[in-house]
Symmetry: D2
Subunit: 289 residues, 4 copies
């Protein structure tokens, strides 16, 4: 009757039980300070089993002891950058889309990440001597259809037509199944945005098919649906109309405002490192100031 | 092992089962557009049963069909004002304290309510001819000890010494047991602030004993603890260290930012009507502009 | 050596002295609670004299006694709506662009106005039975090139391609010459956005030529350049490198945050009335809630 | 008829002309990356000449080439800390008051600075083993009388009674005479807050006499009154009712939101270094996170 909801491929896989799933490969390793997990959906049978498109889904998981000081965050950004770089075309302009609603805490990760992004497209055009060596990066916060009347996908398509990027990076707040993953797991995928995902708002699909260029999705779970939590707590089939939490009820950490801001910062810095190559924290900050 | 948590007296009472509780009286009636419920704790036996001090606890509950347009909100404010007025001294200055942390969505109701308050104390002092007929009202957002280093109670005590009010109104975001009450229930009480309540942060006690003047508490539940939700879903005693949600995990509506703002507005207007007497919405607004 | 700067056509005209200017017509009248002034640039000679494109420039000026209560603001919105309506195509979708930088107080009027806009395009598409009678309105806050890497004009062009509106309304904070006009004058024009205008940031041109559809510009001055103020105070030619204020120094009212918010509200409501026809304040608010 | 307004002692002194002023001593030196200037008012004759109380007024001025990257800002904070330390009692609790109105850009420096402050009083009390070696520091943002009904001085007196600090540090946005000093000059003084100063709001006096403990004032000019600018541009006595800018008109940089935030950060870090002794930027940040 009710379905568990998660936007994390690794949770979808583990939800299927312990044995191997045809068309799905999984592997794990450690890149300090993060634990990496890769799910690869290799054929349609795997795609159907996970209800996710074929492609690669990487998660980077924080240890419980993560200190969130600037040194730790910088190291985490470097690991994420190393995971992100192979998913992107080697060169060419990139459009970064920060999906979601800045006015809703649970959904603001995308726009918040753009605050930490090194945007260069205008500089490479206006000052080619000084900035022509940099990769042209533009940023779009498309907002939400309820306040713009424009579908996220329409706006991104419009920006893609204008900026002609070689790839889109789409950042989104996600829903997880496990409370332990909230603001502690980063997911990277080369499959674009799947319709229906997004922490507080469903999104339209954005992918190579619909945009004609690679769409790399980055996300962090900020909520667990209360209904999903209930389904995990109750014996099979015991959730019904009487005790099921309303679909709009979400679980998140009490300091979600702070935790989401930290994740946005790590993500933004990771994208900068992936796109513009190695630099020191001071160099990045000087650009962002 | 784990306890259900609620700051609403009516939920504490109903948590004790259906029969009468010695030392506790309850009654219900309707004041459109709200359903009113009064719990009166009449002796120490009742106080012990509810783990709440003796006194009066009023809740005003919205219908599911509440439209939240300005007409509806104005009517709701008038009903709350009528409930609040008898709890306050008939005249004399009043200090309104907006408890909680403006930077945390779940805890910001108190400071947000102050944004809608008619503050008059400085006007009655500086311009007695024009404003001397008004009740002197001052407002304090004491913040949280983690960012100020000062206990909420200390700051309120300091302000009370300076402003010498006849009563304190303390506004706070609360935790409920039932998801249906989130941002839909207003609680008014003449017993002050109870240590340990507050949606995201425990508070120190503030009451007639500690301050020497009446302390009227107003609150709206903005969260349900995920652990409390789990306790309500599971058969008795089935929550343990393995499946219990972390104490810092909270359930709230996905549009909590918006819903809390609406509640703050209704509360602020209700306090204005209770303190300054009947006026039109236009008159109040002209003062607030 | 230095030039006075103003984005208001009526100030440009009065800066040319008292006599008639060939190719420019002016008339004044009153529509309570505002004083209206129309400058019509009828030929290229007039356009050259004012350094503004041919077309119509309407200003609506507040009295000093404007009360800014909701009744007053509603009446002002109605007058502005009546001025705006004839500038727009009678039917068809409209895209409203809120230009400027929400993070800079002096430049935030455009994005702030969108907060008060009735956006309907998604509703007319998703729920044609309920909303099909409404004009499809979409809203875009294109941000600023320094944070997006995308030119405002590019983003609007992209949105125009997707939403196919019959007209664009572009809202922008302006610079005035006279301090008395700050947050007290509304300018409406059918000539689009002129390159180089905008309170804190120059804008690219957006007009019928570049977009292929009418572009109606709405603006309110929020700043006077300190240099312009100096030029008006000093005898001719007395401003030089030694005493000229830096170009980035701007004069505005000390409560500009509040005043700009009020202007945004009046503007947003005016656009709603112009696009969706007469309605009561309560009806508009119910839609916006 | 009109008076130039400045809260900077060094500008008041230079406004008196080139010669020596009885009762006022001045000296200058450099502490990279800042230029330091000390005005000492040694007797009542000097106090009368400057219309400022006897005591020490230090200003630290940025070079035009200041880079505002984190390295530069850290060095500036260290210089300011070295200037601040001798003004403070060697030990004992300190209350830091961030004066002004967070909702008005020009006046928000005080509250914004508190966001960067290491607040320790609650930790030294709750966890004396871990934090007992630290100086107890508390923070108060008293707001403005128009929204609280409580005088800033009353609230600080209340907090002083509760926290019993050995000194108060009061931070405030200031008005300067020269545009070049905006967000580029830090003033430190051991004379407390002078009635009538503050960028956008006059303040009540706070000093050793009224509070019984040293009051150290820190400030940065964020505005020049437009009227003061006009007085400096015009030949003597040429400003009259016809051309004088309204008293509420203020000049500030167009990116004042950003510049004030940077100054708040430098000030906050300087106070931390002065109160808690040398530490690395990483150590401070770990505390603040």
């Amino acid at each position: 009757m009710y379905q568990r909801r998660t936007d994390l491929a690794m949770e979808r896989l583990s939800g299927l039980g312990e044995g191997p799933v045809p068309g799905v490969a999984a592997e794990e390793w450690r890149q300090e300070p993060l634990a990496i997990h890769r799910v690869t959906v290799t054929n349609q049978s795997g795609a159907k089993a996970l209800d996710r498109p074929m492609g690669q889904y990487l998660t980077a998981q924080l240890d419980r002891s993560a200190s969130w000081d600037s040194q730790w965050m910088w190291e985490a950004s470097q690991v994420l950058a190393a995971l992100l770089r192979p998913l992107l075309p080697e060169k060419g302009p990139v459009l970064v889309a920060g999906l979601g609603n800045r006015a809703m805490t649970c959904d603001a990760l995308g726009p918040m990440t753009l605050d930490h992004l090194m945007v260069t497209r205008h500089l490479t055009r206006a000052l080619p001597d000084a900035f022509g060596h940099m990769r042209p990066v533009s940023a779009l916060a498309p907002g939400v259809v309820g306040t713009t009347g424009l579908e996220t996908a329409e706006l991104i398509r419009g920006a893609v037509k204008q900026a002609q990027p070689a790839a889109v990076i789409a950042i989104d707040a996600l829903a997880a199944r496990s409370l332990e993953r909230l603001c502690r797991t980063f997911q990277l995928s080369d499959t674009g945005i799947t319709p229906g995902s997004g922490a507080c708002n469903p999104r339209q699909g954005l992918n190579q098919q619909t945009l004609g260029i690679p769409v790399i999705a980055l996300g962090v779970p900020t909520v667990v649906e209360a209904r999903t939590l209930a389904l995990d707590l109750l014996p099979e089939g015991r959730l019904d109309e009487k005790n099921a939490p309303d679909a709009g009820m979400l679980v998140s950490p009490k300091d979600i405002d702070l935790q989401a801001e930290r994740c946005a910062r790590v993500l933004g810095h990771a994208i900068n490192l992936a796109l513009h190559g190695d630099m020191t924290a001071a160099e990045m900050e000087q650009f962002l100031c």
